[in-house]
Homo-oligomer: 204 residues x 2
């Protein structure tokens, strides 16, 4: 069975757990501590030189980092990826948007506010204004897209929605007010009603 090297609280890891669960793909979870530096030790760097979770390790030892790549790999050829070429391009658009313009602000604001220890927070607190400004900009881009669309890529739920859901649904832990984004809030509800949905806290 593939091993997902992960941290339960990480939205990037949750995305992989959610997609795998919805497809009925069993994963063994290998948990790492938040503040232990375990993912920077030589044993881990041998699997992922970039020292991050999530990392998918196959039975034969091949390792795949990057949540977007793992989502793409696990769902290729399934209903969680659109078949239409343009919708696939939109899927990639929103997955790259999430990693470049959304996660570095919304996930990091959440981490600073809700998961850092005091020493870490003192060192990063000065960044909060920029994190909030850019995070709100990302939510506004999503709000605009969802004004006349139910989903991010094509006309149905896909890994683009899963990628954006991971940290958007937990954005209030970063100090963002989701009530200011009504179309985003309705989309969050839609995602949570998809078949075989699991919340971030779910463990197999």
């Amino acid at each position: 069975m593939p091993v997902l090297h992960q941290m339960q609280m990480s939205g990037n890891c949750y995305k992989v757990r959610l997609a795998a669960h919805q497809l009925g793909i069993p994963l063994t979870l290998q948990e790492y501590g938040l503040h232990t530096g375990e993912t920077r030790r030589p044993e881990y760097l041998a699997k992922n030189p970039n020292g991050r979770v999530p990392l998918l390790e196959l039975d034969d030892g091949r390792c795949l980092p990057e949540s977007g790549a793992i989502l793409f790999y696990l769902t290729e050829g399934t209903h969680l990826q659109p078949a239409d070429k343009w919708a696939r391009a939109e899927m990639m658009q929103w997955m790259f948007f999430e990693q470049y313009s959304h996660e570095p602000y919304i996930a990091v604001a959440r981490f600073v506010r809700s998961y850092m220890n005091d020493a870490q927070r003192a060192a990063r607190g000065a960044d909060m204004e920029k994190l909030m400004t850019n995070g709100k900009a990302a939510l506004s881009v999503m709000e605009k897209h969802l004004a006349d669309r139910d989903w991010f890529a094509g006309d149905r739920y896909s890994i683009a929605d899963i990628a954006l859901y991971g940290y958007t649904h937990a954005a209030e832990e970063g100090g963002f007010e989701l009530a200011n984004y009504p179309a985003v809030s309705r989309w969050l509800q839609r995602v949570s009603r998809e078949p075989r949905y699991i919340p971030l806290s779910h463990r197999p």
Copy 2:
């Protein structure tokens, strides 16, 4: 003919020009100024609410932002994407790595050092140490991968190489010393010898 809304000096835009040229796909280039704020005006935001270049506009008006998504769209089904499922996962891995762990440091250090005006540089200069540290870390991850591999995904040139080449080949404009990364330097040479290669400065 599709229009590429772009800035000539942008590595993200160059990636699209390089892939399109290698596939013989003609593009009309619509150039934007570096410091003019043109991509934040309503006319542009109507095409891309995220206000960035590159943006690919098709003949029918459909618009696709995000360099990674444009690369994926233009090259689907061509020799610039591997056919093997695992190699495709590696392709996505390195494209997400580039946008998350490489571009925000190497491209931004280059922009601060070589393209900002004095007022911008004064406001961002304090970030340089972090940009350099994280940029060097990204180059080291690439160096490690290339120790026993010629290409990033599978065993041949793909859009993963194009995505990483865009800013790596210009990293010295950001203050990085590529001579410290001999495997990366050899890979840069390999990319530049690919058929129908064009440099960043090339205009059709």
